[in-house]
Symmetry: C2
Subunit: 410 residues, 2 copies
């Protein structure tokens, strides 16, 4: 059997390294002599940056630590390969294929979201065109849960568990003085509200839950929002609201664009969607004369490895293994997807889908899962999300802090 | 033996309810017929709001849940009793004493920080003046760790463990693209930098640690800060900085006051000290043309019960028990303090101090524990803080989320 190579791409998650562990162990089990890891995805590969993972993952303890280490062990990138019909981009493909040949690669795995699947799609098409026998398989991950064809994405369950858990703690904290208090929590998700919806999981026999959930799928009206908060606060002094960073007005503008302070710009020149909760808090404070607090979960929601879902970690590992199986059996240009068999008991298996059904597409929260007044998630969402946050994998604590495995990429 | 009453006051912590459990169980063990709980501290007591804790804490499981429930189970307040020599305030004291007599109270416990100890001080003095035989004992808690006479305060260890753990996760996340990136994390502490200093705990064999720590004890210079960041980023692309919400310029203005956007005002009319990290990120982004991200730990650092330190939970329970012992033995007007016996092995006991040595005073981080260039904590701080974050008390997970015990106070 030839060698394998694996890369990680796009935003990190708490369990993306569990998929790496799944690929690594399955490829070794199936006889790959070397399993290489791209440093910073294909962008690093184009600069000849890779490691032989066998030099770094030497024991079962290393694998256990890898499963518990958040963010991308190999480093990540946000790099799009040139279009295939773009002559000036030919060089990139030729360079990658030459390197893969030199490393005697037969299996190529890319762990990522919809942008990263675009990479697998292009490489698989290029490989087919040039008669390469390398198999290119996509391994899904994203906290956003916005990938098509898969029931859910590895990474989402842990982010949802974090959001549900911390929301319960915030609700306890926010009610402590018994005074009028509006807490607005800003949650990631530019276009899809899966993460914000997870705030609904906080409602339980020991917790009154959040009072309002604002998804990016639902047009946002600032005035109606303030009205709703006012009505809610007339019933109970502490009102806790989960709002997506991506909520938009009917005219398409992001709510955070209404704020007049300086906005950071990200590496791609996109305006950072931050400040939604802060803007809404300022508005509510002015209109309703109540104390407010805005909380941004920021990167914490995607890197809280200490609170990962064991279900999620296990499934992340499984999709890695299933990708190796698929490639070894001759598949290419496909992505492993999770297919739910049943909710009670929760059972889930993997299947393969052509990568073209996934790349660059987005799956949103179905509006039938949202209450008529757009403030709460309905039972179908809870039934969907609840199995994904079940069980824990205890961190390995060293000197009182969760221990990780760390690859110095410099 | 007469009955006991206990209240919680000031900002919540992850382990404040462990002290409540300690008071409750010790008071029952020593024969108190009833242990009452004030709802929302003395402010609630003045409105006749209290419960008989025995009606709510009925099993050992309830106690275990109480130890794992963040925020104040009984509710809290930020209420200061009138000055003793203020004639117009006499009514409040008379009302409290009348209620305490009606409930046949012999022991009065108040769990709180330096403001709350002012309440115990005044009640003890009033009790003495009026010949009451009620014993008033203070039980320390505050994440800020700024109480005098006690080696450290219950609540600090868990907040420090949270900060150290999450900082490690943030550092992993921030290095993932290998690109220029400045992350500034804002940590609570208006005048004392104990919490911000805890970011230093992230440095370990699997983590490069934070690059700079900015305490409120050290005057802040925006220009020099930007210069330092520039120098650091020339060495490594990802720079992670922990900054106290309370950093001040040499002229005494808070750094966050330099930001031009609207500021929230808290329940007491204090300008909320938030936005320091955001302002610094905007400044750095403008000056250094780097991507930046500001993260505020906000209330998460004081309510993350799921990541509490077992050492902290245990000590919080112990100070509660020691308070009952002290009161039962006739002490009044004193606070239980933690006294460290040794670091290796870590040993800690309790002692009593007159409340006047604590009330309204603040303990700051000694500047000898900070490096000469004011960017890092030195070994004495690590030796001081490390024992406080050791060990865990696994949350009791129900439906995938940490379970709490909840008292409906409405």
């Amino acid at each position: 059997m030839k060698n394998a190579i694996v890369g990680q791409s796009g935003g990190p998650t708490s369990v993306i390294n569990s998929s790496l562990a799944g690929v690594f162990e399955a490829a070794r089990d199936r006889g790959a002599g070397h399993v290489y890891g791209m440093l910073h995805g294909v962008q690093g590969l184009l600069q000849d940056k890779y490691v032989d993972l066998g030099d770094y993952l030497k024991s079962s303890l290393d694998i256990e630590l890898l499963k518990r280490t958040p963010s991308s062990y190999l480093g990540s990138c946000r790099y799009k390969l040139p279009e295939l019909n773009d002559e000036s981009g030919k060089e990139a493909y030729e360079k990658i294929m030459k390197l893969l040949d030199r490393l005697d690669i037969g299996l190529f795995f890319y762990i990522g979201g919809n942008d990263s699947m675009d990479t697998i799609n292009k490489l698989a098409l290029y490989g087919k065109k040039t008669g390469s026998d390398i198999r290119f398989i996509g391994v899904p991950k994203t906290i956003d849960n916005d990938l098509c064809v898969t029931d859910h994405t590895p990474g989402y369950g842990s982010a949802a568990k974090y959001i549900g858990s911390v929301m319960k703690e915030i609700i306890r904290d926010a009610t402590v003085y018994g005074t009028n208090y509006v807490t607005i929590v800003e949650i990631m998700g530019r276009n899809a509200g899966w993460l914000t919806a997870a705030a609904a999981l906080a409602k339980s026999e020991d917790c009154e839950g959040v009072d309002m959930i604002c998804l990016p799928e639902v047009p946002f009206h600032v005035d109606r929002f303030v009205e709703k908060v006012k009505r809610m606060q007339a019933q109970k002094p502490s009102v806790v609201i989960a709002v997506s960073e991506g909520v938009k007005l009917e005219d398409g503008r992001y709510v955070c664009e209404l704020a007049d302070d300086v906005h950071a710009v990200d590496a791609f020149g996109h305006k950072a969607l931050t400040g939604t909760a802060r803007f809404l808090c300022n508005t509510v404070a002015k209109e309703l004369k109540t104390k407010t607090r805005s909380i941004e979960f920021s990167t914490l929601q995607r890197c809280a490895g200490h609170l990962a879902s064991r279900t999620d970690i296990t499934e992340a590992y499984q999709v890695g293994g299933a990708a190796v199986k698929a490639a070894a059996e001759g598949h290419t240009g496909e992505m492993v997807a999770l297919k739910r068999i049943s909710n009670a008991p929760y059972q889930c298996t993997t299947e393969l889908h052509p990568i073209s059904e996934v790349a660059n597409l987005e799956k949103k929260v179905p509006l039938e899962w949202v209450s008529e007044d757009h403030t709460q998630m309905l039972a179908p969402f809870i039934e969907y999300a609840m199995p994904l946050i079940q069980a824990e994998l205890t961190p390995i604590y060293v000197s009182g802090l969760p221990h990780h495995i760390y690859l110095d990429k410099a």
